[in-house]
C-alpha cells in the first residue's frame, strides 16, 4: 500500500460517511412511507414522487426555477458591466476586485439581515420617506418576491462577476483594438468580439448563481417571510414541522436533479463547447 493511499484515506472516509451516505439515505427515504411519529417505515412506494405532481408543489418548484432564473438574469445584467469595468481598470484591477468581493466575505446571515433592517416597515427606507413626507404609511417593501429577488441578487452578484472578470481579463487587449481599427464601434466590439469570447465565463457565472439561488433557503425565509416559499423552504418544512421525511427526501432529490440539469445544460451550451 503506497503512501498516497494514506493521504487520501481521511478525506475518502469523511466524504463517504458524511456526504455520500447521507445522500444515499435521502434516496432510500424518498421511496419509503412516512412513519406515524415522523421517521420512515416500509413499504417501498413512489408516492412521495407522485405527490410532487400536485399543482401546489409544482407551483413551488416552478416558482423556485423562475426566481433563480430571474436572479441569474439580473446578476448577469448587473454583473457583466462591472466585470468589464474591473478588467479594464488597469493597475487598480485588484483593488476593485477586492472591493467587490469584500461584502461577499462578510457573513451571509448578516448581509441578509442588513436588507431586513433597510426594508422593513420601520426600516431605513420607510423611515426616511416618512420623515420627508413622501409617504404616510410604510411601503410594503419586505416579505414579497421583490425583496427575495433583491436579497438573492445582492448575495450572489460576486459569483457572477468573478468568473466573467477572469474570462475578460484573459482576453488580449489588442483584440478590442483590432475590432475598433476595423471599424467597429464600442457596442459592436462588445457584441461581436468581447461577448462571444467571454461566453464560457458568462456560462460559468450563470451556473454559479443559478444553482445556489434555486436551492436557497435563508433568503426567502427571512426576506420572503413565509409568503415566498421556495423549494428549499419546502424541504426544511418537511424535515422539521411537517415531519414528512419521505416527501422531503423526494423533493431534495428533485432539487438536486434540476440543479444537475442546469449545470449540464450550461456546460453543454455551444458557447462553452467551443472553448473546451
Amino acid at each position: 500500500m503506497n503512501t498516497r493511499w494514506w493521504f487520501l484515506l481521511p478525506a475518502r472516509v469523511w466524504t463517504a460517511l458524511f456526504l455520500l451516505a447521507p445522500l444515499g439515505i435521502v434516496g432510500a427515504y424518498s421511496v419509503l412511507t412516512r412513519g406515524d411519529y415522523g421517521g420512515v417505515e416500509a413499504p417501498w412506494t413512489m408516492e412521495s414522487y407522485t405527490r410532487l405532481i400536485d399543482p401546489l408543489y409544482l407551483a413551488i418548484l416552478w416558482r423556485s426555477v423562475w426566481m433563480a432564473t430571474l436572479s441569474t438574469v439580473l446578476c448577469a445584467l448587473l454583473g457583466f458591466p462591472l466585470a468589464l469595468f474591473i478588467a479594464r481598470a488597469g493597475r487598480r484591477k485588484n483593488l476593485w476586485l477586492q472591493l467587490v468581493l469584500l461584502p461577499f466575505w462578510t457573513s451571509f446571515l448578516v448581509r441578509t439581515y442588513a436588507w431586513l433592517f433597510i426594508l422593513r416597515d420601520t426600516g431605513l427606507v420607510n423611515t426616511v420617506l416618512q420623515r420627508l413626507h413622501v409617504i404616510r404609511t410604510p411601503l410594503p417593501l419586505l416579505y414579497n418576491d421583490g425583496a427575495v429577488l433583491l436579497g438573492l441578487v445582492y448575495s450572489f452578484l460576486p459569483f457572477f462577476v468573478l468568473p466573467v472578470y477572469a474570462a475578460l481579463e484573459r482576453l488580449d487587449g489588442s483584440l478590442a483594438e483590432a475590432a475598433a481599427d476595423l471599424g467597429a464601434r464600442p457596442l459592436s466590439t462588445l457584441r461581436r468580439v468581447i461577448l462571444p469570447l467571454s461566453a464560457p465565463g458568462i456560462a460559468a457565472g450563470c451556473v454559479l448563481v443559478f444553482i445556489p439561488c434555486l436551492g436557497s433557503y435563508l433568503t426567502p425565509d427571512l426576506l420572503g417571510g413565509g409568503k415566498t416559499v421556495m423549494v428549499g423552504n419546502l424541504i426544511q418544512n418537511q424535515f422539521t414541522t411537517a415531519r414528512d421525511w419521505p416527501f422531503g427526501s423526494a423533493t431534495s432529490l428533485v432539487l438536486m436533479l434540476v440543479s444537475a440539469l442546469a449545470l449540464l445544460m450550461m456546460m453543454r451550451s455551444p458557447a462553452t463547447k467551443e472553448m473546451l
Binding site: 493521504f7 447521507p22 445522500l23 431586513l116 427571512l222
Partner: protein
C-alpha cells in the same frame, strides 16, 4: 462609453457596500428605531452582556476551531494526494458537495444522524455540527491548497527523495513548509465558512447547542433589535480582518 462604465461601477460598489455600512452606522445609534438619536455604545454593551449571545459565540468559536483544524488537515492531505495522482472519485465527491444545496446537505445529514441514533445511544449536539462543518469545508480547503500545489515544482520533492527522504519525510520537510501559507489561508477560510453557517447548523445542532448565527437568526425573526446590528458590525469587522490575513497568506 468608458465614463458611463465608471459611473456604473461606482454605483454598483455603493449597492454592494451601502447595506453593510448603514447597518454598522446604526449600531452606534442611541435610539431603538431607525432615526439617528446620537452616538452611543449601549447596543454593544447590551450585546456583550447578553448571555445567549455569549453562549452562542463560545459554541460557534469552539465549532469553528475544531472543524477548521480537522478540515484543514483532511483537506490538505487530500489535495496533496490528488496532486500526486488524480483521484476522479474523490474530486467528483468534493465537487458534488459544492453544488449540493445547503438545505439538502443539512437534511441529509440530519437523516443520517437520526438513522444512526437508532443504534447508538446518542443525540444531536455540538459534535454533530462539527462533523457536518468538516464535511462541507473539506472541498474549500482542497481547492485552495490544490491551486497552490499547481504552481509547486515537483522536482523539489524528487530532489528530497534523491537525498534519502521517504515519501512522508519529503512531504513533511519539503512540500508542507513551502505550501504552509496556502494551508493557513485555507484553514482561515474553513474557519469563516464554519462560523458563518446557519442553514446546515440549524438542522443538525442539538437543543442545547445554539450557535451565534442561530441566536442572531432567532433575534432577527423576533423583530429587529439594534443589538443584532452591533453583533453584525462586530462580525463584519472580524470577518474582514480574517479574510485580509488569508489573502495576504495566499499571495505569499
Amino acid at each position: 462609453m468608458s465614463r458611463a462604465l465608471s459611473v456604473y461601477a461606482a454605483a454598483a460598489l455603493v449597492f454592494l457596500h451601502a447595506p453593510l455600512v448603514v447597518l454598522v452606522l446604526f449600531s452606534f445609534n442611541g435610539g431603538r428605531f431607525t432615526v439617528w438619536e446620537g452616538f452611543s455604545l449601549r447596543w454593544y454593551q447590551a450585546a456583550v452582556s447578553d448571555p445567549q449571545l455569549a453562549e452562542g459565540l463560545v459554541n460557534s468559536l469552539l465549532i469553528a476551531v475544531v472543524a477548521g483544524v480537522l478540515s484543514t488537515v483532511i483537506g490538505t492531505l487530500a489535495a496533496y494526494g490528488m496532486w500526486r495522482r488524480a483521484s476522479p472519485v474523490l474530486s467528483g465527491a468534493l465537487y458534488l458537495s459544492l453544488v449540493t444545496p445547503e438545505i439538502v446537505t443539512g437534511v441529509s445529514l440530519l437523516a443520517l444522524f437520526q438513522w444512526a441514533f437508532r443504534f447508538l445511544h446518542l443525540q444531536l449536539g455540538l459534535y454533530t455540527v462539527v462533523i457536518a462543518h468538516v464535511a462541507f469545508s473539506i472541498a474549500y480547503v482542497t481547492i485552495v491548497v490544490s491551486s497552490r500545489l499547481r504552481s509547486y515544482d515537483r522536482t523539489l520533492e524528487e530532489a528530497a527523495m534523491d537525498l534519502g527522504a521517504t515519501e512522508w519525510g519529503a512531504f513533511r520537510r519539503v512540500t508542507l513548509p513551502s505550501i504552509a501559507p496556502a494551508v493557513a489561508a485555507a484553514g482561515l477560510l474553513a474557519l469563516v465558512v464554519s462560523f458563518d453557517d446557519y442553514v446546515i447548523t440549524s438542522l443538525v445542532a442539538g437543543v442545547d447547542s445554539q450557535t451565534l448565527p442561530m441566536v442572531i437568526y432567532a433575534m432577527a425573526r423576533r423583530g429587529v433589535s439594534p443589538v443584532v446590528n452591533a453583533v453584525s458590525a462586530l462580525i463584519v469587522v472580524a470577518f474582514g480582518a480574517v479574510i485580509v490575513v488569508a489573502e495576504r497568506l495566499q499571495k505569499r
